[in-house]
């Protein structure tokens, strides 16, 4: 039973042209999907498309984003602006990348979380304040009163990210989109934040779309992994299957680079890739003539999907 289903999403951005070239992704209830890709793969654009926060001039060329369980399923792309506003924060929330930039520097952080809650719920300020303190405790902040009254510049990066997670969780959404939540943090702080997200998912049943370029961070809490490259999902499936039995050549390279900082010799990223056919064509050592045609997502076994001509599989 899937909570979020992205089907063949195609998006163009004004300055970059085609950014998403038929993205398909499924997230079930309570699952943590680690969406792994490098910069330029389109992962942030995907997140913004789901939240319908694309910049002016962006064109959605095709596809669907189905969200909701059972009867409540909606195509997010067909909702009006007002309906989408009700979704954001309440049903789908986001934890952004740079905690420093996402917080208002002249407001106490506790008040900022309170503001987010009051925008959606009609409760008194006192009730809200107590709810915020509870939230702060739930994200493992030891002195909630002191932190409530602090300003962003008084807090460390890890602490600020916890505040943003608290904000994201405040209205008990069904899906949290975490866009590179640990990239701006030091390595020894990352585990705390990532494990916190994992805790939240397992204890409340919230699904998480965890966007990152670091396979290690994703594998820490993900139940499923999807690998994205140049606007397409190349491989997706359960974490263990993708990590231990990766099928797409790109996945293997990404895993090696993330865990051991080494990679096989392969051509550099070409400046102008060919738009028809496999996006990985120029750099792939397995390529054949047939790869000049766009590969389809095929099922390898039990939910492990891969888009590669070199892999035998059943059509989905």
């Amino acid at each position: 039973m899937s909570l979020l289903e992205v089907k063949g999403l195609k998006v163009d951005l004004p300055t970059c042209g085609n950014v998403l070239n038929g993205v398909s992704l499924t997230i079930g209830r309570g699952e943590v999907c680690g969406l792994v890709g490098e910069s330029g793969s389109g992962k942030t654009t995907l997140a913004l498309s789901i939240l319908r926060l694309l910049p002016k001039g962006a064109k959605i060329k095709g596809g669907q984003i189905l969200f909701g369980m059972g009867d409540e399923k909606n195509d997010l792309l067909s909702l009006s602006a007002a309906e989408m506003r009700k979704m954001r924060g309440r049903l789908i929330s986001m934890v952004p990348q740079e905690p420093g930039k996402a917080l208002n520097p002249v407001m106490k952080v506790g008040d900022q979380i309170l503001e987010a809650i009051l925008a959606h719920k009609k409760i008194t300020k006192d009730v809200g304040r107590r709810a915020v303190l509870d939230l702060l405790r739930s994200v493992c902040i030891d002195e909630p009163e002191r932190i409530y009254n602090s300003y962003p510049h008084e807090l460390s990066g890890g602490m600020k990210q916890r505040i943003l997670i608290a904000m994201g969780v405040s209205l008990s959404p069904r899906l949290i989109i975490a866009d590179e939540p640990t990239s701006a943090l030091d390595p020894t702080i990352r585990a705390g934040i990532i494990n916190l997200l994992g805790e939240i998912s397992s204890s409340t049943g919230t699904s998480i779309l965890l966007i990152t370029h670091d396979m290690e961070v994703a594998s820490a809490i993900a139940t499923h992994i999807a690998v994205m490259y140049k606007g397409m999902v190349l491989e997706s499936g359960k974490k263990e299957e993708v990590l231990q039995g990766s099928l797409h050549p790109y996945t293997g390279v990404l895993i090696a680079a993330s865990t051991k900082l080494c990679k096989p010799r392969m051509p550099e990223d070409p400046a102008s890739p060919s738009r028809d056919g496999c996006p990985f064509y120029e750099r792939c050592w397995l390529r054949k003539e047939v790869c000049k045609k766009m590969p389809e997502m095929k099922m390898w076994r039990g939910g492990h999907l891969v888009a590669c001509h070199m892999v035998e599989g059943e059509d989905v």
Binding site: R146, A191, S258, L261, K263, E268
Partner: protein
């Protein structure tokens, strides 16, 4: 016994924040660092943001002067040298910076950028300069036609290659690389690291490789220095990393295995900065093995042989037990 190329003794640097009413607040960035880089060896300086590694790198590169201590390179004390001596040192000691997006002047072409150190330091004809630039671009894996491009036309990895080409143009013996991989994607990181390894063998350069990711250090360097709060907590050769005993080093080696646990002793608020005023271990507030001793006494420097040194009460106790 290898000769030391670069030696730092007792290097300290503080910055002063002046508040409105003239009260000066001292922030100690580097609090007494002793280290050596031997000829032909590369050293990794590992630490996270705020530990002082960039300040130390800038002092070694001659961009900032330390408050105390000496930094001796090739017999010249960089901390006290005058402009002429520094110019001599500059030819043998170069630097690669962290952010490939701001370390290249956006209004200068790749040709200008890579050729600048040569143009400043040597009397070189235009033809020779052309040839040398082409050679340098080739060494970093860029085709010669990249010379006419501008930084905004290049990817992060390509920009970093240009920065490296600039840094090796004067054939330095020591290259200080300040987190050269941090701003890059994982696959590009692996590529650039390969480039560093290749250049090390080809040009016989030593590195002071600053990073927060020990994985890079392992593949490139011979020694690892772990820095936190302005001091070096552990010095260990790469082949002995399995024997690393400082709690912080263990955290750096396995960052994703860190568990959130209650602190072993009651640490009052503000302890993270206690080491700025008292002589105590800077890691005290985060250490899962902290003890009462750590709150009051400065951690001792323990030598564990074979170039392995650590500054920790825990190590002292462990050694005492052995």
């Amino acid at each position: 016994m290898c000769e030391a190329m670069l030696t730092c003794r007792g290097v300290k640097k503080s910055f002063y924040n002046r508040s409105w009413f003239g009260r000066r607040c001292r922030v100690q960035a580097v609090g007494g660092v002793d280290m050596e880089i031997e000829k032909g060896h590369s050293t990794a300086l590992v630490g996270e943001s705020g530990c002082g590694k960039t300040t130390l790198a800038k002092m070694i590169a001659g961009l900032i002067r330390p408050d105390e201590g000496e930094i001796v390179f090739d017999g010249i004390d960089i901390a006290r040298a005058d402009q002429k001596e520094i110019k001599k040192v500059r030819r043998a000691l170069q630097m690669v910076f962290q952010d490939p997006y701001s370390s290249l002047n956006p209004r200068m072409s790749v040709w200008d950028i890579v050729g600048e150190p040569l143009a400043i330091n040597e009397r070189i004809s235009r033809m020779d300069l052309d040839r040398r630039i082409e050679e340098l671009l080739g060494m970093v894996g860029l085709p010669p036609l990249y010379a006419i491009r501008y930084p905004n036309e290049l990817s992060g990895g390509e920009r970093q290659r240009v920065a490296i080409a600039r840094a090796i143009s004067l054939s330095p013996r020591l290259l200080v690389a300040d987190e050269p991989l941090s701003a890059l994607d994982p696959i590009v990181q692996a590529d650039i690291l390969e480039l560093f390894i290749e250049l090390k063998d080809r040009l016989d350069i030593s590195y002071l490789f600053i990073t927060h990711d020990i994985k890079a250090a392992v593949r490139l360097c011979d020694n690892v220095l772990v820095m936190y709060g302005g001091v070096l907590l552990e010095k260990i050769p790469v082949e002995r990393l399995g024997e690393a005993c400082h709690p912080y080093t263990e955290m750096l080696l396995h960052p994703m295995r860190i568990k959130e646990e209650r602190h072993p002793i009651d640490v009052p608020y503000g302890t993270e900065n206690a080491h700025l005023t008292k002589d105590v271990c800077p890691f005290l507030a985060r250490c899962p093995h902290a003890s009462r001793e750590c709150l009051t006494l400065p951690p001792p420097k323990i030598s564990l042989g074979n170039g392995h040194e650590v500054m920790c009460h825990l190590a002292k106790r462990a050694k005492g037990v052995l």
